[in-house]
Amino acid sequence: MSVLEVRDLTVDFAQRNGPKFRAVDHVSFELQAGQTLALVGESGSGKSTVARSLARLLTPTDGTILLNGAAAGRRGRRLRAYRRDVQMVFQDPFASLNPAFSVDHHLRRPLVIAGHRRAGLDEAVAALLRSVNLGPAGTVAKKYPHELSGGQRQRVAIARALGPDPAVLLADEPVSMLDVSIRLEILNLLDALKRDRQLALLYITHDLATARHFSTHIMVMYRGEIVEHGPADEVILRPAHPYTQLLSSAVPAPATSRRELTDRRRARQQAGRAEHNAERSEAVADTGCRFRRRCPAAMPVCSEHPPDFPAGPAHTARCWLRDPERAKEPA
């Protein structure tokens, strides 16, 4: 069942000089209870803006957000109710917790605000800590953020998000500030919580490998658009959009010979550099495929904006290469 339905979400930012900057452009997707949807893309692609507008930390310019079939409140009590149900975990646990307050305060506040009874608050805080495997609750609750390691802080941030018993959890790069050795613990924890509480989880990341391993579906975002969307294994093992292919070729690949790595790098550099620099210095073209200047497969038709084409079962790609009409033509 879809818990959160997003239709044509669009976010514009005003710029001091010049036209508005469209950070998110008609993005649509659904989050299902007990499932993880990963949103991947490079810095500046609009991933976090999607999360922030879903958490209503900023007001979208256009589009509809339906929570359990009902339109999200835009102000007042209905907005507060929406915010209770859609919680967010931020990237940096060193910045998202207030250094002046104890763990107990961080977990108690959201409970009180969500209308929890005074009686039983202590027990509720302890239960939250247990749910993120932080213990013993009595000791941890008294601690301040600086007394905790990065992983422990992120657990506190997750516990805080769980306080109001949300239906949707938005995790914006929840592990990218953490050590590699503890990332998996946090991701496994989110995975277990999602299963046990039937949370609809949006996992935002630029790490394709964890996106694949921890989610059912993956959306790839480029310059404000979803360019590919499909089942996790499909998108990673059979990427249909050249941008997804670029992302996956950038992942470090161990266990190959040095020679081969050097050759591969040379090829990449030769192919990539010229277009790359040209693309970066140019302004974004507002028509056509936004990836075309970086795209190794760019063709004349790419100056028109591509629609979503099917690329497999439940798998779409916004790329003219996938146009069934094209496929019929001789190469």
Partner: protein
């Protein structure tokens, strides 16, 4: 500047005994009521033209070691023991510990430069790039005139793939990746023989990281400097570095050629780090990282510091301190008797590799830090002790 494919071997690890930096028995303490022993008796060698990776979790002493090697430590950190020698291209040997402040100032940046983690903070936000490049030349090459400075600054920017026109720009006008390129250009300004890079790509996304790494490798190929590359991302080092030192609790626990260590790690901690990230195209499997956290370095460490988190721990581990030695054949190395690049060049500090101590019935290769007898169950994360308390006796 182009380099023909064949020439690569000439700079790369082929010149294996051409040492550019040798550190012996280096120890660093952060003074205080209970001193933190952040680096404990570390010895390593950096060869000319190679990339030496230093991997480990936060709080394992990687950055402290890098600062010690460049003599950048500031109180309360203090180098309590050890020698550091620099062997210049010109044949001069410099004892870093003996340099007075003036000589040290001259030495830094011309021989050894550093790329810091946060490119945002390493650049001055209120000075143009031109001013910041000029500062380097004014300080180190005062005889250089303005035209020459300008010329060289432009060259440097071009070298790292940034439009020289950016010289009049300010750091906030650049993206994170571009800022990191500028920092790298600055580190290379005086053609140092060693560049120490402390997590240079950690804050960047994959595509930008890839560009920067490609850039670093290409520059190294062309200019022939050596790199000490510090990161907690082992997957990246396996690809980038020639040799690898894995640090745990202030010590090097495994030290050897990256390719072999990546395929057959000899230390359970290395194996654990290797299993901390899923493979992009591999089988879906359940992975657990390395549960627990590194020990508190204020406390004396008995035996092997990794014991509480180690799935292979056995009798002497908790009270006998393992020292670096060659890995046992058949465990880590692969087939017994298989010839490989001189065993003395691969070292591991783990009792598993001591035939006198090693218990019978161990698996042939370390599949992960946690495999073997009794995998660690997901225990509640103990926060009872100090911030970085070890996962007490849970294993």
């Amino acid at each position: 500047m182009t380099v023909a494919g064949q020439q690569v071997g000439a700079v790369s690890p082929a010149t294996r005994d051409d040492i550019v930096l040798r550190a012996e028995h280096v120890s660093v303490e952060y003074a205080g009521a209970s001193p933190v022993r952040a680096v404990r008796d570390v010895s390593l060698e950096l060869r000319r033209g190679e990339i030496l990776g230093i991997a480990g979790e936060s709080g394992c002493g990687k950055s402290t070691l890098a600062y010690a090697l460049t003599r950048l430590l500031r109180p309360p950190a203090e180098l309590t023991q050890g020698t550091i020698e620099f062997h210049g291209k010109d044949g001069n040997v410099v004892d870093l510990m003996a340099l007075d402040p003036v000589a040290l100032r001259r030495f830094r940046w011309t021989k050894v430069s550093m790329v810091f983690q946060s490119a945002m903070n390493a650049l001055n936000p209120v000075a143009s790039l031109r001013t910041q490049f000029a500062d380097i030349f004014r300080a180190h090459v005062p005889e250089m005139n303005e035209d020459a400075r300008e010329q060289r600054s432009r060259e440097l920017l071009e070298m790292v793939g940034i439009d020289p026109g950016r010289l009049r720009g300010y750091p906030h006008e650049l993206s994170g990746g571009m800022r990191q390129r500028v920092i790298i250009a600055m580190a290379l300004a005086l053609q140092p023989e060693i560049v120490v890079m402390d997590e240079p790509t950690t804050a960047l996304d994959v595509v930008v990281q890839r560009d920067i790494l490609d850039e670093i490798e290409q520059l190294r190929e062309e200019l022939g400097f050596s790199i000490i590359f510090i990161t907690h991302d082992l997957s990246l080092l396996l690809e980038l570095s020639d040799r690898l030192a894995v640090m745990y609790a202030g010590e090097i626990v495994e030290y050897g050629p990256s390719v072999q260590m990546g395929t057959a790690p000899a230390h359970p901690y290395t194996a654990g780090l290797l299993h901390s990230f899923p493979e992009l195209l591999g089988e879906r499997q359940s992975l657990h990282g390395v549960p627990g956290s590194p020990p508190d370095l204020r406390q004396p460490i008995r035996g092997c510091a990794f014991t509480p988190r180690c799935g292979y721990a056995f009798e002497p581990c908790s009270d006998r301190h393992p020292v670096l030695g060659p890995p046992a054949p058949g465990l880590g190395i692969g087939e017994p008797g298989q010839p490989h690049d001189s065993p003395s060049r691969w070292q591991v500090a783990c009792h598993l590799h001591n035939p006198d101590l090693r218990p019978a019935g161990l698996p042939a290769a370390l599949t992960s830090g946690l495999a073997g007898p009794g995998p660690v169950s997901p225990e509640p994360d103990p926060v009872s002790g100090e911030p970085d308390a070890p996962g007490k006796e849970s294993a």
